[in-house]
């Protein structure tokens, strides 16, 4: 029984860790490093620019030629922004939203995905098609009927409107279903023969096996909710409900001349999610980390 419940890939992975990966020929290694270097610069350059600009004075931001290094960082920008904006409120709201939405999306999404991939019932494929279908409809075309619906539920101008908006997305279902498909049906059937309930199978077999997929779904939902602009814009009116993105946008229009402060705000809006990502990186990239390929 226990061996049956083991994912088939696991033993292979264990062997993989034990045996060192083959080294590449020298020329290829150099080429590889070169590519990595170029890619890393390309990816990091805009961030470097953003952080640097946030430490400059307004006039320095657009100095010609570009100053890549500030000799005299203006740290006070980071003190000023807390004084000049409601950053604390915005961050609080965004953290709350991200947490609730992610929890709900991961739970309901993986739950529904189990129904779609491992329980056979008539009409299943049609329902799934409806899910995928709505992915293909641009949001801005149905956001008005949706807004009316949300008003009838008396959710507009509350944080719950954003929760309702984001938590039941089709993407999570699609993603989890796609992952569950890779888990052999035999495993589930064996569990059923063993007398496990469907919920038991979901909880005790599927969930533990799908940790990497759950982790990526968590990350994606978190990032989407954190960075969502149009949703909060349409649904939240009261300033004490604003999210970081809304706040940042209004901050930009209010302090239009303060390029450096705008950059400071941008850095702060990205920072929490970077920290979360770095802290949780081991889990997000679990499949990768377990194979001992760390650099």
């Amino acid at each position: 029984m226990t061996t049956l419940l083991q994912p088939p890939a696991a033993p292979v992975l264990e062997q993989d860790t034990a045996r060192p990966a083959r080294r590449l020929p020298k020329l290829w290694r150099i080429l590889g490093y070169l590519t990595l270097g170029v890619a890393a610069v390309a990816v990091l350059l805009p961030f470097y620019w953003m952080v640097m600009s946030s430490l400059k004075t307004n006039n320095e931001v657009f100095a010609i030629p570009v100053r890549w290094i500030t000799t005299d960082p203006v740290w006070s920008n980071y003190a000023d922004i807390w004084r000049k904006s409601e950053m604390t409120t915005w961050l609080g709201n965004t953290v709350f939203l991200s947490a609730v939405v992610t929890l709900l999306q991961v739970f309901t999404g993986s739950f529904a995905a189990y129904g779609f991939s491992k329980v056979r019932f008539p009409g299943r494929d049609v329902l799934f098609l409806a899910y995928i279908g709505t992915l293909a409809v641009p949001w801005q075309s149905y956001m008005v009927p949706q807004f009316v619906m949300m008003t009838k539920l008396q959710l507009t101008d509350t944080l719950w409107s954003i929760v309702a908006l984001q938590a039941f997305g089709a993407l999570g279902v699609f993603m989890m279903k796609q992952f569950y498909e890779t888990i052999p049906d035999e495993l589930i059937d064996a569990a059923r023969i063993d007398g496990m309930s469907e919920f038991g199978i979901y909880r005790r077999v599927m969930l533990p096996l799908s940790k990497p997929a759950l982790a990526s779904l968590t990350l994606i939902t978190l990032v989407t909710t954190w960075n969502d602009y149009m949703g909060p814009l349409l649904y939240l009116r009261s300033p004490d409900l604003w999210t970081v993105q809304l706040g940042l946008k209004s901050f930009i229009s209010q302090y239009n001349a303060e390029y450096a402060l705008i950059m400071t705000g941008s850095v702060l809006s990205v920072l929490p999610i970077v920290v979360i990502f770095l802290a949780g990186q081991r889990y997000f990239v679990e499949g990768v980390a377990t194979t001992g390929l760390k650099g």
Partner: protein, 428 residues
């Protein structure tokens, strides 16, 4: 889990409480809601609310904040869902048609009938003899110039006699002289909006009409801008868009010696100079340059443009509130409100009556030309009210970005815009 459940219940209760509490009182004090935007930096709404309250102690006006750039998107959604405020601002005249045609504005002709003669911009809100909004602000586009930079370069200040050619010559004259004087400023700054070219062209060219589908009248205005860009006398359109340049910083931080802008900028500039967000320097306003000599000089009335900003009433408002809302509209267009608005640098609909108030503000210019400019102008609407205005303006916006970025020659762009206007808008 328990806590979030409690929170949900609390929210539901609060929502239920709000919705039942509002209409239950039959008499007594009235609370009106008023839409506004960027409340922290736009004090005019609070000013109106406070001023009205002083005269009508039993009516409270509560402000509801909207996003400045996405005001209409949010308002359309709120109106469709039936939860818009009682009174809302017609922020962009371009979209007035949408609200009026969609029956989202109460007929306020009775308020309009009682207004003083000096209130400008009223006709923009009239459809088939009925009035659907009351202007409380009527800005107009003028030329802002930096006296300090002009003196530094040794160039003569604008004197109200300028045509566009004089303006261009001055910009080209200023640029090298400013450089020689050790300043980084350019001669002029043209902001990225399409109105900086098209608003003037439409207002000043005889016979120009958006809905005619003939856009040839735009050509001289674009040729001049392109020429100034090429000469380096103004920042190129591409650099302005990619760097999200703001006009407040360009003029307020002395990056340019001149700039065409609406009179709303007076209030912003005064407050930014007072707070130190803008440099301290002496400035003035002059009439917008004219197409021909005929309308120049202080004995003539210079032609310029700008849309009025009006207040409309939500037709879903309860009858009990209607009278109070109409009182508010009448107040906002009246002399008391005009003075209150002028006190914070805002150009009220009745502008001639308050020029003294504005120019008495600390930091405001004191020269005669500035006062003349503020009080005397023939201000045409930028967006004549019609069904075709919004789609035509979208087509002309594409023309604007294509031409100023140098992607298309002006003649080609005009021909294309005319074809699109005929094909997509006017043939319907």
């Amino acid at each position: 889990m328990k806590r979030s459940l409690a929170a949900v219940t609390a929210v539901l209760l609060a929502v239920a409480g709000c919705s039942s509490g509002g209409d239950s009182e039959e008499s007594g004090p009235v609370t009106l809601t008023l839409a506004g935007w960027s409340l922290a930096t736009t004090p005019e709404f609070q000013k109106l609310a406070d001023g009205f309250r002083a005269a009508h102690p039993d009516v409270t006006v509560e402000l509801k904040e909207y996003d400045a750039t996405n005001y209409d998107t949010q308002m359309v959604a709120d109106l469709a869902a039936g939860k818009a405020p009682d009174i809302y601002v017609q922020k962009n005249l371009k979209n007035f048609y949408t609200y009026q045609n969609g029956k989202q504005l109460l007929d306020v002709s009775d308020v309009a009938g009682k207004l003083g003669k000096g209130v400008g911009g009223l006709s923009a809100y009239q459809v088939d003899g009925k009035t659907y909004a009351i202007p409380y602000r009527q800005d107009s586009w003028v030329l802002f110039y930096n006296k300090k930079l002009f003196d530094q370069a040794g160039v003569k200040h604008p004197d109200g006699s300028w045509t566009w050619d004089d303006y261009a010559a001055a910009a080209k004259d200023l640029t090298p002289k400013l450089k020689a004087a050790g300043s980084k400023a350019l001669g002029t700054y043209q902001h990225v909006w399409q109105s900086t070219s098209q608003g003037f062209a439409l207002a000043q060219t005889a016979g120009a009409d958006l809905s005619s589908g003939d856009f040839g009248f735009l050509k001289p205005y674009y040729e001049r801008s392109l020429d100034l860009q090429a000469a380096g006398a103004q920042v190129s359109f591409g650099d302005a868009t990619t760097n999200s340049l703001t006009y407040q910083a360009q003029f307020g931080k002395q990056q340019a010696a001149m700039m065409m802008m609406g009179t709303w900028y007076i209030a912003t500039l005064l407050s930014q100079q007072a707070k130190g967000d803008a440099d301290a320097f002496e400035w003035g306003i002059a009439p917008a340059p004219q197409l021909t000599k005929a309308t120049t000089g202080t004995s003539a009335t210079p032609v310029t443009f700008a849309d009025p900003t009006g207040l409309g009433v939500n037709p879903k408002i309860s009858e009990r509130k209607t009278a109070a809302a109409k009182d508010f509209l009448a107040y906002a267009a009246g002399l008391d409100a005009a003075k209150a608005l002028a006190g914070i640098g805002v150009t009220p609909a009745d502008s001639s009556a308050v020029a003294d108030t504005i120019f008495a503000l600390k930091g405001a210019p004191t020269d005669e030309l500035s006062k003349f400019t503020f009080a005397t102008h023939d201000t045409k609407p930028e967006n004549p009210v019609a069904k075709s205005t919004a789609p035509l303006q979208n087509i002309l916006k594409d023309l604007h970005t294509a031409v100023l970025s140098g992607s298309k020659p002006i003649d080609v762009a005009i021909t294309e815009a005319q074809d699109r206007a005929k094909n997509e808008v006017l043939s319907k």
